[in-house]
């Protein structure tokens, strides 16, 4: 049994007028029992509310469309995160979630890989430690750090920054998970631990400026770490700025028709729409096209909110598959994104839909790198 009264207060649910905009915009609701409005209503009505029968809570991607659209400022996704927290607290942790959580605590990453392997991606790149003196710290997402499929992205970024003569460094083996997805699966205790630990490490290393490879890290540092006095940028912002400041010379053409998937945590949640596009449009040879559903109307790839590790109830076709079809409608040959989750889900989807020869999923960093 839940204390709905507290949840109502905590998540400001009294503001809700039951207009349904949250459910109407939810990318998951059409194929899952997930209905944020009804969820809120049940909270408002109070009384008996059994979490256990609500497996669909694990379907939420925390893309935050519900909250962005809400005319009364209610954040349904926060409520869902809170409910997941209740679930976790009750000890009934979904089986597929146990290993990532444990690994994050022990190894600083949810991929269940050793802490000491974190910098393997940078082997041979001679990346400095930020403590050695750098104007900015590069923060690698666990995915980028460990998953070979997305490791090329930080590598590309390193080359880009060097090309612009930017002095940067990483936290080295002190770098660990930002906690964004940990918080989103409801493990707030672990998140708080990571936050405090990370902040301590940033402070120790004298980090004043942080550039993240993932929008999820960007979001969590920018919005959920309090105000630690650290300027946070997503790398697309950094690169866009450097291009605007004319810090690059592009030696090559990147001849392709490119469209772009807005990562929810970059676009909808933080309003960073223009910089990634500015970067792509600045590249010689790139013909940039928009998908119909872009920017504020973009669609989640279904990679966030811990969906990378969760089963949920949602067994229907993944949204990423739809996205491939939509990208192909534009005539694009390259589907760009700026998020490791997006990259992975979209890459899977390209394979699943049998379009690996028609459409290439690339991170913006990779594309920029290809043009330098």
């Amino acid at each position: 049994m839940l204390d709905t009264e507290t949840l109502v207060q905590q998540f400001d649910l009294l503001a809700c007028i039951q207009c349904g905009k949250c459910t109407g915009g939810c990318p998951i609701s059409p194929k899952s029992a997930l209905n944020p409005r009804a969820l809120i209503y049940h909270m408002l009505l109070g009384g008996d509310f059994e979490l256990v029968s609500r497996d669909e809570l694990w379907d939420c991607t925390t893309c935050a469309t519900c909250g962005m659209r809400c005319p009364k400022g209610v954040k349904a996704y926060d409520l869902i995160i809170g409910l997941r927290g209740q679930w976790i607290e009750s000890g009934k942790i979904p089986t597929t979630l146990r290993a990532p959580l444990t690994a994050t605590l022990n190894q600083g990453n949810p991929l269940v890989l050793p802490r000491e392997d974190r910098t393997l991606w940078a082997d041979g790149l001679d990346v400095k430690n930020v403590a050695e003196g750098a104007e900015m710290a590069l923060f690698t997402c666990c995915e980028n750090a460990y998953d070979p499929r997305v490791q090329p992205m930080p590598k590309a970024l390193v080359r880009i920054l060097r090309a612009a003569n930017i002095a940067f460094g990483t936290l080295g083996l002190d770098e660990q998970c930002c906690g964004s997805e940990i918080r989103r699966v409801g493990e707030s205790g672990l998140f708080e631990y990571l936050r405090d630990d990370n902040l301590e490490k940033f402070q120790a290393a004298g980090v004043k400026k942080l550039v993240t490879t993932s929008p999820h890290c960007y979001n969590v540092y920018k919005n959920e770490y309090g105000s630690p006095g650290i300027a946070v940028e997503h790398y697309t912002q950094t690169v866009a700025r450097l291009i605007a400041e004319d810090k690059f010379k592009f030696g090559k053409k990147f001849e392709a028709t490119v469209t772009y998937q807005d990562p929810c945590f970059l676009g909808k949640q933080n309003g960073v729409y223009d910089e990634p596009r500015a970067v792509l449009k600045a590249l010689p040879g790139v013909k940039f096209v928009e998908m119909d559903r872009s920017r504020e109307r973009s669609v989640c790839c279904e990679g966030g909110g811990g969906r990378m590790w969760l089963e949920g109830t949602n067994t229907k076709v993944r949204l990423a598959n739809d996205r491939i079809a939509q990208a192909r409608e534009t005539g694009a040959t390259v589907l760009a994104t700026a998020c490791p989750f997006c990259f992975l889900t979209l890459s899977d989807a390209v394979v699943a839909t049998g379009h690996e020869n028609d459409l290439k999923v690339m991170d913006i960093a990779q594309i920029v790198n290809a043009a330098i």
């Binding site: 207009c19 349904g20 949250c22 939810c26 209905n35 009364k72």
Partner: protein, 448 residues
Amino acid sequence: MTQSALVIGGGIAGIQTALDVADAGFKVYLVEKEPSVGGRMSQLDKTFPTLDCSACILTPKMVDVARHPNIELLTYSEVTDVQGAAGDFRVTVKKKPRYVDMTKCTGCGSCAEACRLKGKIVDPFNAALGKRSAIYVPFPQAVPLKYTVDPTQCVYLTRGVCGKTFRCKDACKAGAIDFTQQEQCVELNVGAIVTATGFDPFNATLKPELGYGVYPNVITSLQFERLSSASGPTAGKILLGGKEPREVVFIQCVGSRDATTGNLYCSRVCCMITAKHAHLVKDKIHDARVTVFYADIRAFGKGFEEFYDRVRAEGVQYRRGYVSEIFKRGEKLVIRSEDTLLGKPIETPADLVVLSTGLVPRPETQPLANLLGLGNSADGFLAEAHAKLRPVDTAIDGVYLAGCAQGPKDIPDTVAHAKAAASAAIVRLRRSEQWTVISDQFTLSTTH
């Protein structure tokens, strides 16, 4: 004591205030920044719930205002300075050059026919759905019916040269066109000022998820008015790109009741505007499927609920749930929402989507408010002296509010509010003498 009043804004509120104050025998200066009086109401097709043709009921009032011996109309003019206090305001009004001699222009329209830019300039009167020339009257029933050169568009005024010869000047048989006209300032001395500067429709591009500006078949309610109007760009036919929509969707509360836009308030008129539009679609395209998405239907005025009943009876579907987003699938738009009464997310196909946009304060009212020393309410509209008891008075003695400058209102409420402002102004103009007891002047006879 100055026996005259200034009314700023020539929409229905300003017109009504001016007429009432003038009818009471006072001189009224009516200042309108556009070339014609008429305001927003002149853009409307029909009015709810009676379906009166808006122009048909407004035009006589516009004509009355122009004809009234006590009213001096200052169109295409703006207030630039206000000094003094109640009873003795000194107001500077800037008369913008029309580049047309009002005394000579017959309103024949030959100049607009001849203009090089004929049919090329986006027509704001038609809510950007139509095109006009650089020399123009805003609409056919304009008062005064005198042409005006748009200085931001005219080839001559923007580039210094317009071919070998001015086509408009050649075309004008009355010799009315005069590019030497300069801005003029007039000084007015008035006892009371009524601010009736109206509202703007909400800028729907601020709700990007609804696709306005992206899809040509997503339009605003003001655009629908022009589409439906016999004097509009489609001569009253509901046509988009030459095609008649089969499935029409109306979306409520676009820019109202919405913290994401900062407009927490209800715009008061949109529910009924949509009901009217839904009726008009049904009236013009009998078999059209019309759906209205809403959260609360606010049909509160006289005859409104009855009209809402009528529209539902005509087969318009009301589905409870705000629309979350719009995208395209093939030729159709897809409207994503939840039907909150079914508890199910739904997708509704549409050929035409009409956004029922709310009312917002006009940005250009703010400098005027500053000149007058007026404050704003939390919603950004001009603040009245007391929310309950003094809806037309302001914190400044002698300055009153009329119509939507104070907050969203429908036409009858605007007219009532404007007349109330007129009453306040009349009272202010008549004040100053020492009143004596006259309440006993009635008694004709008293019997027990």
